[in-house]
Symmetry: C2
Subunit: 201 residues, 2 copies
């Protein structure tokens, strides 16, 4: 019994934890938070329910980790597009398009992140990330206003409205497995988002 963990042990543990998070994410994407019990997640990862507690102190802690990972990826992608160069209104359009496309391509996970019923800890995380999305939108709107490309407005309110609008427009398609015309939806959403910010085009 080593006094401290060997590098190999550490790596193996981290890999196990990683595997657990990935499997849990898949379960959540498929059945939602409410049905993603510790047992279900452990089964998916091929370990015993009790072993989950080797990696996370509680079910909530695992759920929060799952949420953060996935939401962070989307925030990164959105930020990348919104903070690029060129016309702010154009960046806004592309940001909305990219966000919507990714959500539609991965409905289960997107629905879980945006709207699915979840325990309080995940709900709090969701609020936090919505604030981050909002901040990203607010920044590009402020730029557009400063550049005279968008009319004067309260960027915080517009950004919140954008966040809510995108979520709501996506939720119905996301919550059904039936086919929907993605192109039409994405174009319509981008249009309404631009109008929201007052882009003339």
């Amino acid at each position: 019994m080593a006094y401290r963990k060997t590098p190999a042990e550490i790596r193996r543990l981290e890999a196990a934890r990683e595997h657990l998070v990935v499997c849990a994410t898949e379960v959540v994407a498929e059945v939602g938070w409410a049905q993603a019990s510790v047992t279900a997640v452990a089964d998916a990862a091929g370990i015993a329910a009790g072993s989950v507690y080797q990696h996370f102190s509680s079910k909530s802690a695992l759920a929060v980790e799952v949420f953060r990972r996935a939401a962070q990826r989307e925030a990164d992608v959105l930020g990348e597009v919104l903070q690029g160069g060129g016309d702010p209104a154009d960046r806004l359009r592309r940001g909305v398009e990219v966000f919507a496309r990714r959500a539609l391509e991965n409905h289960g996970l997107a629905y879980a992140l945006l709207a699915a019923p979840a325990e309080p800890a995940v709900g709090a995380e969701r609020l936090a990330f919505r604030r981050r999305y909002r901040a990203l939108f607010a920044a590009v709107i402020d730029e557009g206003v400063a550049a005279g490309r968008l009319p004067g407005q309260d960027a915080e309110i517009t950004a919140a409205a954008l966040t809510g609008a995108i979520g709501e427009v996506l939720v119905y398609p996301l919550s059904t497995s039936g086919p929907h015309d993605a192109d039409r939806l994405v174009a319509g959403l981008a249009g309404v988002a631009l109008r929201c910010a007052g882009a003339s085009d």
Copy 2:
């Protein structure tokens, strides 16, 4: 023991049920769905937990009734304003203003209706009512487009965006008890809603 209930008995029963619904609504507005256990609700109504089942077959049934009553009131008020006469864009603005004011005046309940974590049955009801709000908005937008007052657009998408935008803009103020500048918020929200629909003004 009467063969069938006397009118007085019926009235008393309905009053008791009514009282239960009202008290449950207050509890939900104060502590949210998750904390509104049968015990808590019964305590608030001044009856025993078991007696709740004299009026509702399950906790879910009671929760759904509470949600429906409150959401219906808002839908009625919103419909009243949106379906009045005069300029469609003007009606849209007033509808948003009225909805937002009422929500801000009654944050607890509004937050419960719009966003608070809830059991699946209530979640389903929430989706249903959002579709109704959306339909109300879509109707006035279609009118505005037909009258040439609003630019051509997919009214369903715009209506969904409005529903989401209003909810999101209100959620943050609603979830905090701290003071916020209601007038500024309402004006900003009305502005973004009009832009959303493409109203030039």
